[in-house]
């Protein structure tokens, strides 16, 4: 059984629960026959990838859901082999360039060129072009973005690129200007409540409103997180009644404790200790930006620091 997030994910534009205006626009775009390159951006857990998947289905029909995983080997400039898993259907291909690390440029170039040079052979296909989905586009290196920029112009006739990113700030301007920007905002409280109730109905169980409120407050607009928390809670206490304690993830508690350490004492010895803690966090693969962000938010909670 898959995770609820995946199992109950809407699969067509009509079934999406919120941002109806956006869905309508996507629908008409897909029908227009003049589909542009697109860039979906917004906070994580807002539904970007869900919308991309729904748009693809609208464009190509259910055939797009027949996925296969290919392992491809690319050669880095220093002749090192890079093995990358690529998810693809007959109509689209999906890549996460951060998997290629420093060599994302090579991967992007090779892959796009290859796709761009093959014509769609299926005569019954709804569209002449193939779609390329690039996840985590904001982690693309400068080199890769520059490579992408040229490819986007050159192979417009048989390829469309759909980028997915948390923010546009790390994308170079030429790429932004070649795409139709789609902002997927985080869902509101009521929208999230609807979705959680929908999940509960499908699961099926009844979700007490207090529990829903608690989960939503905790999630900070991240629907994926909310549904995951719901699933975890449901597994721990099947009736979801009574006071619910939503445990923070370990790494978050850890970051907070590190911030507390910093506030409570400032000595060279403490510097060493805090550094050891940071190393511990890093060695658990917590992204450094997240560590800094969460730690800082915690620091702001100490009023005497702010008013000083």
């Amino acid at each position: 059984m898959a995770l609820w997030v995946d199992e109950f994910r809407p699969r067509s534009l009509d079934n999406l629960h919120y941002h109806e205006g956006l869905s309508a626009r996507l629908k008409s775009l897909a029908a227009s026959g003049d589909f542009p390159h697109m860039l979906f951006y917004g906070p994580s857990g807002a539904g970007k990838k869900t919308r991309i998947a729904c748009t693809l289905r609208e464009l190509f029909g259910p055939g797009v859901e027949k996925l296969k995983i290919d392992q491809r080997v690319f050669l880095s400039p220093s002749k090192r082999k890079l093995e990358i898993n690529i998810v693809q259907s007959n109509f689209h291909i999906e890549i996460t360039p951060s998997e290629a690390g420093n060599y994302d440029r090579v991967v992007i170039q090779e892959l796009l060129k290859e796709i761009a040079q093959t014509q769609q052979v299926d005569l019954n296909a709804k569209q002449r072009f193939k779609a390329v989905i690039i996840n985590e586009a904001d982690s693309l290196s400068r080199d890769a973005q520059a490579a992408l920029r040229r490819t986007m112009e050159k192979y417009m006739s048989n390829m469309r690129i759909i980028l997915c990113a948390n923010s546009t700030s790390r994308l170079i301007a030429p790429i932004k200007s070649r795409c139709l920007l789609m902002r997927v905002a985080a869902p509101s409280f009521e929208e999230m409540e609807t979705v959680l109730n929908y999940v509960a109905k499908r699961a099926p169980f009844t979700l007490p409103p207090e529990a829903a409120k608690k989960i939503i407050d905790d999630s900070g607009g991240n629907l994926r997180k909310a549904i995951l928390v719901l699933e975890a809670l449901k597994m721990q206490s099947p009736d979801l009644s009574g006071p619910l304690a939503i445990a923070k993830p370990d790494w978050e508690t850890y970051c907070h404790k590190v911030a507390d350490l910093i506030v409570s004492e400032q000595t060279p010895a403490r510097v060493m200790e805090v550094r050891a803690k940071f190393y511990e966090l890093l060695s658990h693969c917590i992204p450094p930006t997240v560590i800094l962000k969460v730690g800082h938010y915690r620091l702001f909670e100490f009023p005497h620091l702010i008013f000083e």
Partner: protein
Amino acid sequence: MLSQGSYKGKGKARSAPYSTEHDERMWTDIYEPTTEAELAVHKRKVEDVRRWLQEAFEGGPSGALKKYRVRDWVSPSGTAKTTTIRVLARDMGFEIMEWRNAVSEGFDTNRSFTDGADASRAWNFDPATEAPFSKFEAFLHRASSCQNLFTSRAGSSSKSQPARHIILLEDLPNILHPGTQAQFHAAIQGLVASSVSNPPVPIVIVISDAGVRGEAGDDRMGARAKASEGVVDVRTALPRDLLGGPYVTQIGFNPIAPTLLTKALQGLLTTHFGGSSQQPPSREMLDAVVESANGDIRSAIMALQFACVVQMVQQGKNKKGSNKGKGKSAVLEAVTRREQSLVLFHLLGKVLYNKRKSDPPSSSATAKDIQKEKAIDVKLKDPPKLPPWFSEHERRTSRVDVDMLYADSPIDSSLFSLYVHQNYPQFTDGVEECEGVADWLSWVDSSGGDAWYQANPHCFHLLALGTLHSLPSPIMRRNQKILKPSFFECLQKEKTAWEGVRDTRGWALGDSIKQGQRRTGWSHADVILELGGVLRARDAVRVTASLPRPPTSHRSFSSLRFVFGTQFGDGLVLDEKEVNPPVEHEEEEEILAARKDVETEGGWLDSDAIEEF
């Protein structure tokens, strides 16, 4: 002369007065010790080795340990590892079978310890028919299971028991190549597992400790993709389970102590100059050589020989006292300077203790040290007075010469910055000073680009000067211990954690894709940051068919317990004796490979092992 008899005697006979000294070999070869007493190694160590060998042959006091034994010998170069084994071989009457990679080198009959055909033999097989590694394998197999045909015939008259021999692996196959390494491990393991022949054949592996390679920057960038180990050490040479197992003994040799080294060199000089009219080099010359050698006896002897050679020429040319003195010091300079490299420990000490002009001497300083410091202080000029708005940057002149440090540093600047970063807080008195050093460290990191060619060429200087500038002066002595960077440990853990992340992501994505069902991707960050709760809940509930358990490796990233006190860097104290030279192994390997090519082409002609018979 010790070895006149076995020496080839091709040295050109010169009419010069000291023709007898014109043996063209290195002194290290000529005066290689032949008895235990001559060894400059500590007695106890020699005893250790001897005991080990005895146990390996005879099965120990109880006689129960009669099994193949592998012995591993790790220590810095020039600490007489090989010599010890050779001396003991003579002493205890066993032979050494040695593996050599180079094919053309073949059989070396000129070794001074060889008095007949029966001492050391390099086994070589036809290069045309066998790949290098299978040659090695064959060597190992034959050497361990078969008696040496020639020797047993030659020596059987004198020996009542079958000849004992050991296998000496000094020139290992290229185990930096993963494939070869795996083969090598398999070969050794097979040998250990196989039955015992009579008499047992112990294996001695001699490894010169090259230290950790300084490529922190590289590793960081390819943290996920790269897992290469650049250094030949015990862990690469032997499989892990063997290292911990009962068959492997590790014996480390320390660098040779200065007193022992001096004694050995003096003995050597008396032998060398004993019969001739030549002046042996002066005492201070000897001291300088010993000091510069860092406990490496090979390099010490080389330096000594070099010094003596130049001196002789000088003496021959002119006899004027004044000139001679001057030339001598120049020679001394040339001989000792090149070899001198700072031990990492001292490098860090120099920077972190931040000694400045007219610092009070430390409590443990001897009168000589105080004299020395005063002499340095006299040479140092005071800095010009800074204008009032720069007054917070006012410092006394530093006793540390950063240019010299840079020239003598055994590590590259990125590794150096790691060490400084690990250790600076202990040397500061407050967070403000910490901030100063941290500032400089960040500055050095952020100047220059990611790629090597964009790196700031002044990293080392910036780092050393910045650290010196920000640290307090004088430093409070509070028993600081210099620690090794915990960065590498962290990196290692991170690598395992990433595997866990990938496994878990595969689990989250997995099965549905097999069914050809659409599922939008989980990014790595999503898995790390958001999946924790569900994973824990799934671990807690009982397994049912409908709920597949997530891979257990997820705990490497999802479970993080906060403990007070430090977890990293405990007990990783840098030892004074650890030398840590930056060796560019890739380059070295290339050169080696190239050389090997040349050698195989021309090889296997006259220096054949059969030649003798």
